[in-house]
């Protein structure tokens, strides 16, 4: 075998372009495979992964401190696989500052540190509470906190008069508390209950969690347990957004794998076929068939292994970044690619490349030296003859008709290249559709840009108003006066007043936020998917998620409760928004439960060209208590999905274009004598370029025609699956995202992928010096 290595190395050096193409394609394909497998592995259980990373509690239990002691709880918890607690727990009453987004009360737990055997908290901002007077808030890292939310260093005043400084933000995927303080501080706050966090050996089903709960509460006073939260219920609630990822990651992952396999097979088998003559020469020199095969396998394996290693590194970096961003809402910190993915890829891709090379190499192995040497240069029977004859009789320019006929000369290679282009176009089609659907949904659901100016009116609380710089602004005018002021300010075209009120759905433990509107609420950008807007008292509009979570339908009646009052309301419509705990209603309904409340938010639309700063100044000149607040913003989720889609699509498109590039390099090398002859009889370099590019552009057009329906079908499957995961309805406008103009552009995408891959080798071939080619017999 001593002769094999130097010959292989020389072959790699001599075939620089092919070596480069193999290396780059394998690198990109490997990157994509690592990302795809990494995402697939992660998407199969992002919640479980994050839960596992934080050692999340399978059961969060609250006990009555007057009924059970800490030692009893510790004793009873022995059957659990892991336990954290007992921790003192209480509900801090903050009162209402009238600031939307600020909580009225916080379930707070006293914990000495964020780590431990269960519920390891991710302190992502600030630090853990170290002394009395400090508090750490539980907040999802992707949440901005909303308007009025406390920031790091801010002080929270309790209704009891005590003050706590926010020193950090942590996230508990177990949702074990709203906030944490030191045990010493908790003692001062007088805990009302005791929290225990359990992990069980078996917790895959409700029955197993119930059995675990029974075990850790056996022997305790019967009425000591005052509340529990199973992680299975939490997973069902939290599954919405991450589950949205799964279908699209699955589709892109498999597309990536399929394209990579196709391209690698095409590149390698093409390289082997192009190397027949080389193989023949080696045989003539005395290499055994096995040595020849080894040379050939080594020749393609060297760049493949290098590409594979680089691709694995890149894939890990990319997938880790994507996964961390995608699943950061679990607060799980960095989420990496499982090690098995790297092992599978580092072994699997070179094996795949070798297998792709093996079949054509075996074919070459069986050829005699003379046959192998003459392969590619001896006359061969033509292919696609009827098509060629028909094309030669058409009115098309001859360079174009010759180009259209070229794909028929190598049907197997054409089929592989076409398949890669088809999958490339399918990816682009799906990506464009997904992008449009998600953007449309996000804009409609979040009402992004639906309102020009949003102004908040601070509401005075009972007792003396707070003083100092931190004091929230209080509206100077009455509700009616403020609305009249806004309507009369030059430029205003529509004004909607609203108030958020915490409410409860009767018969459940579900806390809701009810938003009551007055004025021009039809201008707020909500889309009514079913039913209608409210037009009288006792009517509400809700979301698809609300209906699903409560098993309700449009037309059903519900009872909403707040501050000891309740109101029966009919669900008259279903609007497009993504919250499952928010209901929309009107001022007439508010009057039934809280007739004396004023609006605290005004959403204003203005005439085009109105100076918004001047508008706000004009309003504030008459009521300085009206503060402009940021309007609705698109969430990060859609941005992450879109970024992932764009990245994967670019990679798939590049690999598909490289597949075409490789095919053109192989074709033009094989047909260099034909090209030389055509130039000798007067074909210009431009005509030669047109001929070669046309041959691939035709594939691109066919790829477009075949790939677009596949992409549309994938879109029709993926979007509803994503919507189902997110518990939202898919209105028709989210699916009808492929107008005729876009379809034409997508066909153009196929042609562009193919033409981009073909252009440079075509130009190189077109400028080949003819004399060298024709006399190189």
């Amino acid at each position: 075998m001593s002769a094999v290595w130097p010959v292989s190395r020389a072959a790699v050096r001599r075939r620089r372009i092919q070596t480069l193409v193999i290396g780059v394609v394998v690198m990109l394909s490997t990157t994509m495979i690592v990302v795809a497998l990494g995402l697939l592995a992660a998407s199969s259980g992002p919640f479980d992964q994050a839960y596992g990373k934080q050692s999340g509690a399978h059961l969060v239990a609250s006990y009555d401190r007057s009924k059970v002691s800490d030692s009893q709880l510790t004793q009873a918890a022995r059957s659990a696989a892991a336990v954290a607690g007992p921790f003192g727990q209480t509900t801090l009453d903050l009162g209402s500052r009238g600031m939307p987004g600020a909580a009225d009360s916080l379930v707070t737990v006293g914990r000495a540190d964020p780590n431990g055997p269960v519920d390891r908290l991710n302190v992502y901002k600030g630090r853990w509470a170290e002394k009395p007077g400090e508090i750490v808030l539980n907040q999802n890292p992707t949440d901005s906190g909303g308007r009025g939310a406390p920031g790091l260093g801010s002080t929270m005043a309790l209704t009891s008069g005590q003050k706590l400084t926010v020193v950090g933000f942590a996230y508990s995927v177990s949702q074990s508390a709203d906030a944490w303080v030191t045990p010493g501080q908790m003692t001062a706050l007088k805990p009302t209950s005791t929290q225990m966090l359990y992990r069980f050996a078996q917790a895959a089903t409700n029955a197993q969690v119930s059995a675990g709960q029974e075990a850790v509460t056996s022997g305790l006073p019967s009425d000591a347990l005052i509340g529990t939260q199973s992680y299975l219920a939490l997973r069902a609630m939290e599954a919405g957004e991450p589950n949205t990822f799964v279908p699209f990651l699955m589709v892109f992952g498999w597309l990536g794998l399929a394209v990579a396999v196709l391209i690698v097979a095409n590149v390698v088998s093409g390289a082997v076929v192009a190397g027949f003559r080389h193989i023949g020469v080696l045989k003539a020199l005395g290499f055994t068939p096995t040595q020849v095969m080894s040379v050939y396998l080594a020749m393609v394996s060297i760049p493949a292994v290098v590409g594979c290693v680089i691709g694995t590194v890149l894939g890990n970096a990319l997938a880790t970044s994507l996964l961390t961003r995608a699943f950061e809402n679990y607060g799980a910190g960095s989420v990496g690619v499982p090690i098995w993915v790297d092992v599978v890829v580092l072994i699997g891709v070179p094996v795949l490349v070798a297998l792709s090379a093996l079949l054509p190499a075996l074919r070459a192995r069986s050829l005699s030296a003379a046959q192998a040497i003459s392969a590619g240069s001896a006359p061969r029977a033509g292919r696609g003859l009827r098509v060629q004859r028909w094309l030669s009789g058409t009115r098309l320019p001859r360079s174009v008709s010759l180009g259209l006929g070229l794909p028929f000369a190598r049907p197997a290679r054409t089929a592989l290249t076409l398949a890669a282009v088809v999958l490339g176009v399918t990816s682009v089609t799906l990506a464009v559709g997904l992008g449009k659907s998600l953007t449309t949904y996000q804009t409609a659901a979040s009402r992004v840009d639906a309102v020009d100016v949003t102004m908040f009116a601070g509401v005075a609380q009972n007792g003396p108003p707070p003083a100092g710089e931190d004091a929230p602004p209080i509206a100077k005018l009455t509700d009616a006066e403020d609305e009249a002021l806004l309507r009369s300010t030059p430029g205003a075209t529509a004004v909607t007043a609203s108030l958020d009120l915490p409410m409860r759905l009767a018969g459940t433990q579900t806390d809701l936020r009810a938003t009551f509107y007055r004025g021009d609420y039809a201008q707020l950008g909500y889309r009514i998917l079913d039913g209608r807007w409210f037009d009288g008292p006792g009517q509400v509009v809700v979301s698809e998620r609300f209906l699903r979570q409560h098993g309700l339908a449009v037309g059903d009646r519900i009872t909403l409760q707040t501050q000891g009052k309740s109101v029966r309301a009919t669900i008259v419509g279903k609007a497009m928004y993504n919250s499952g705990d928010e209901v929309l209603s009107n001022w007439q309904t508010l009057a039934l439960v809280a007739p004396d409340r004023r609006a605290n938010l005004y959403e204003i639309n203005v005439k085009p060209g109105t100076d918004l700063d001047a508008f706000v100044k004009a309003v504030q000149a008459k009521d300085s208590g009206l503060i402009e607040t940021p309007g609705q913003e698109a969430g990060s989720f859609v941005a992450i999905v879109l970024a992932t889609v764009v990245l994967l699509t670019l990679m798939l498109g590049t690999v598909a274009a490289l597949g075409v590039f490789n095919t053109v390099v192989l074709n033009t090398r094989e047909r260099r004598r034909d090209l030389g002859m055509l130039k000798s009889i007067g074909m210009t370099p431009g005509q030669a370029t047109v001929m070669v590019v046309t041959s691939m552009a035709a594939l691109g057009a066919v790829g477009g025609v075949l790939g677009i329906p596949l992409g549309v079908v994938a879109h029709r499957l993926v979007v509803p699956a994503m919507a189902n995961g997110a518990q939202v309805e898919v209105p028709d406008f989210m699916l009808d995202v492929y107008p005729a103009g876009l379809v034409a552009l997508l066909i153009l995408a196929g042609i562009l992928i193919a033409a981009a891959g073909a252009y440079f080798p075509a130009r190189t071939a077109a400028h080949t010096i003819i004399a060298k080619v024709l006399h190189n017999e």
């Binding site: 029977a381 033509g382 060629q388 006929g405 055509l678 000798s680 009889i681 005509q687 004399a771």
Partner: protein, 233 residues
Amino acid sequence: MTESNGGMVVRLSAVRKEYGEAVALDGVSLEIQAGEAVAVMGPSGSGKSTLLSMVAGLDRPTSGSVVVHGDDLGTLDEKGLALFRRRRIGMIFQFFNLLDDLSALDNVALAAQLTGTSASHARKRALELFEELGIAGRRNTYPAQLSGGERQRVAVARALMNRPAVLLADEPTGALDTRAGEQVMDLLLDLNQIGQTLLLVTHDQQLATRCASRVIEFVDGHIAGERSLEPTA
């Protein structure tokens, strides 16, 4: 068959061609009159094929000038050279260089179609040539199914398609058996007798003697000798 003006068709003046350090042509000057049949002979590597490439505009000289039918090839860009070959040059090769995927007729018609001639007109003209060359019955056959002699006749037909000023032949009988070679020689002789200017590169003394009126001997890139012959009828 040629657009001869009765004067000079090819003029090479002090043409030198270098490939790296190797000198393929070393100050070659040569003139060919319209209707003449010139054979270039010499050992391998003497510069015969390079001379043909210069005349056909397939390659450019390092120095010196090449003028064919009034076109100074040194002034033409790549596109200009392609158009020049289209209008002025017909080439036949030792290994025919036919496109395997096209029928014999379409291979020939191709030369005219590249100039923008319609498919029907090109095929009509090709068929006329097939009849003149005695291969009309093989017009719908593909190259792989033709004999060597037939392939070379198709190649000759293709070379004549655009009525070239000069027909260049590079070892036209080199890949043929004796009988097929004889037929091709006869064909070239017939073409010359009706006025087609020929420039042959060959090792074949018999071909040169039968077809050419003048033989130029090449050695190491320069003209070592020249003699006139009476073509054999």
